[in-house]
């Protein structure tokens, strides 16, 4: 593959973007072939942050393996944990208490907002506007404070356990989440004024990085990347898990197929998440926060799959069990990996500046791609 690329045609130039580059957000390595500034070809080169999480999980018990998934897509740690816990619960046929489900969904949606806020700031930073990053972090900080208060950690929470959540919510949880919603609603307009409506930003995003609905499906993209191309693929709607079938919210779909639609999907999703939280926060039922489970969990022999909608798309957790206390094999279907595969198709014929913008709208988290 690499040989093929280094024999670039006359007048073409091969450039390494990364693994140390300010806009790859981590150690992603892209080999691009340029004609002037126009991109002819792009080859992602992975493996710089591979920690073999899947292999590690094979030697961990079903209580333990969940913590390591916080390190995959660290920005949607709760949702990863949730998906893993669901896989185990499905296999063990554990009934999760109502209260635990409420807490889980609220935390999932808070995570989604936090993740999208970080993406929003980083996206603007990729395009050269540095101030939005700080405004986004101001609101995100409130969420991480809530997480710290209830879960005990700010990023890698490990709060979900098979059967529910680890501890009950903090007494101040409800109040602080409500405060956050008030603050968020008062500031979300600033996001639009500063970035969405900005003419330079719109010109950079509109009609750039086109990904048609067919291509989105054939590359296996999911999450906001696919929904920006008009593909309905929100797991929360198509295969509702936890409480999502009972909740009122819209699946945000934009049909522009360009960077701007992917951007809009994420911004609108934040508002939808707030809507979900508002429905739940006032009526968290009393009761247990975790179901009674045996101290040592043994999964029955068989194969189990669960899926959840993370901030980046569909996360699949596939467990093969031989009946022991540790899994025989675990496979994670990470959204970032498939989304990255569409990048070559999207950037062809655009400029280097666009590459950065398109990569921004894919919202890549490298440890999620490499695991």
């Amino acid at each position: 593959m690499i040989e093929e690329i280094t024999t670039a045609k006359e007048g073409e130039m091969v450039i390494n973007i990364g693994p140390q580059h300010p806009s790859t957000h981590g150690v992603l390595h892209l080999l691009i072939t340029l004609d002037g500034e126009t991109i002819k070809k792009l080859e992602p080169n992975l493996g710089y942050i591979h920690r073999s999480i899947e292999k590690m999980c094979e030697s961990l018990s079903y209580r333990q393996f969940i913590y390591s998934t916080s390190r995959m897509d660290y920005l949607s740690a709760h949702i990863n944990n949730h998906a893993c816990a669901m896989a185990v619960e499905k296999a063990m046929e554990i009934e999760v208490p109502e209260r635990a489900e409420y807490i889980r969904v609220i935390l999932d949606e808070l995570t989604r907002i936090a993740s999208h806020q970080l993406w929003w700031g980083a996206m603007a930073m990729d395009l050269g506007a540095l101030s939005p990053f700080f405004y986004a972090f101001r609101e995100r900080e409130v969420i991480t404070d809530i997480m710290e208060e209830t879960c005990g950690a700010r990023l890698t929470m490990n709060y979900m356990v098979p059967g529910g959540v680890m501890t009950d919510i903090h007494p101040n949880f409800v109040k602080h989440v409500k405060d956050f919603i008030v603050q968020f609603k008062s500031k979300i307009d600033e996001y639009d004024t500063l970035v969405t409506d900005n003419i330079i930003f719109q010109n950079r995003m509109k009609n750039v990085g086109l990904l048609s609905a067919e291509d989105a499906i054939s590359y296996g993209t999911s999450g906001p990347t696919a929904r920006g191309s008009g593909v309905s693929c929100d797991i929360r709607k198509t295969h509702p898990y936890s409480l999502y079938s009972k909740l009122q919210f819209e699946e945000v779909i934009e049909t522009g197929c360009d960077s701007f639609s992917r951007y809009l999907v994420r911004v609108k999703e934040m508002k939808q998440s707030v809507k979900i939280i508002e429905q739940l926060i006032d009526n968290i039922p009393e009761g247990d926060f975790v179901a009674k489970t045996k101290a040592v969990i043994k999964l029955p022999k068989g194969e189990f799959y669960s899926r959840a909608e993370t901030a980046r798309g569909e996360l699949g957790v596939y467990i093969v069990s031989e009946g022991g206390t540790t899994p025989y094999r675990i496979k994670f279907r990470s959204p970032g990996f498939s989304n990255l595969s569409a990048l070559n198709h999207m950037v062809k014929g655009y400029k280097i500046g666009d590459l950065v913008a398109i990569m921004g709208t894919l919202d890549l988290v490298i440890p999620d791609i490499d695991r």
């Binding site: 333990q64 390591s68 710290e148 005990g152 950690a153 890698t156 903090h170 409506d197 003419i199």
Partner: protein, 160 residues
């Protein structure tokens, strides 16, 4: 032609307006230094408020008599996903002349710990808990390997 010019100028006007609104927002922040949210970290150590659940490091609770509740059952060692805890037991001869298992050293490798809280969940006697300290940097890696039971401490009466 007229339409073209009209479009051209509305375009320019809209563009300038959107840029102006953005500048108004940043200008607002520039003229309102009260919005600054920075905290100056080493200076604010005393007023720093960490929530009581914050997971900073695993510690063992000791009371005034220098007694702890750890029976040396190794449940935490088994629960830990990455081998952070090592329980070393010894056998004491108690008053009745019977051999009894007791903890000799609770070795904790802070450099391996991921603060996942699983050990605390696993402990049947609530002997260990999470402390809110977070300034863990040291000059020598050996200093990160800690013994959690204090010197001369022993098991509290009545804890099985």
């Amino acid at each position: 032609m007229i339409r073209f010019l009209k479009n051209y100028f509305t375009e320019v006007f809209q563009a300038v307006k959107s840029l102006f609104l953005g500048m108004k927002l940043t200008g607002y922040y520039f003229t309102h230094p009260k919005e600054i949210i920075t905290q100056e970290y080493p200076e604010n150590r005393l007023t720093l408020n960490l929530s009581e659940r914050f997971r900073g490091e695993v510690v063992m609770t000791h009371d005034e008599q220098n007694e702890h509740a750890c029976t040396g059952c190794s449940a935490c060692e088994l629960a830990c996903p990455n081998g952070t805890i090592k329980i070393i037991n010894k056998f004491e001869i108690n008053a009745e002349g019977k051999k009894k298992k007791a903890i000799d050293a609770f070795v904790y490798h802070l450099e391996l710990c991921t603060m996942c809280n699983l050990c605390i969940q696993a402990c049947p006697t609530d002997a260990i808990k999470m402390a809110q300290t977070f300034e863990h940097s040291v000059f020598n890696r050996n200093m990160l390997t800690k013994q959690l039971n204090l010197a001369g401490s022993k098991l509290r009466e009545g804890v099985e």
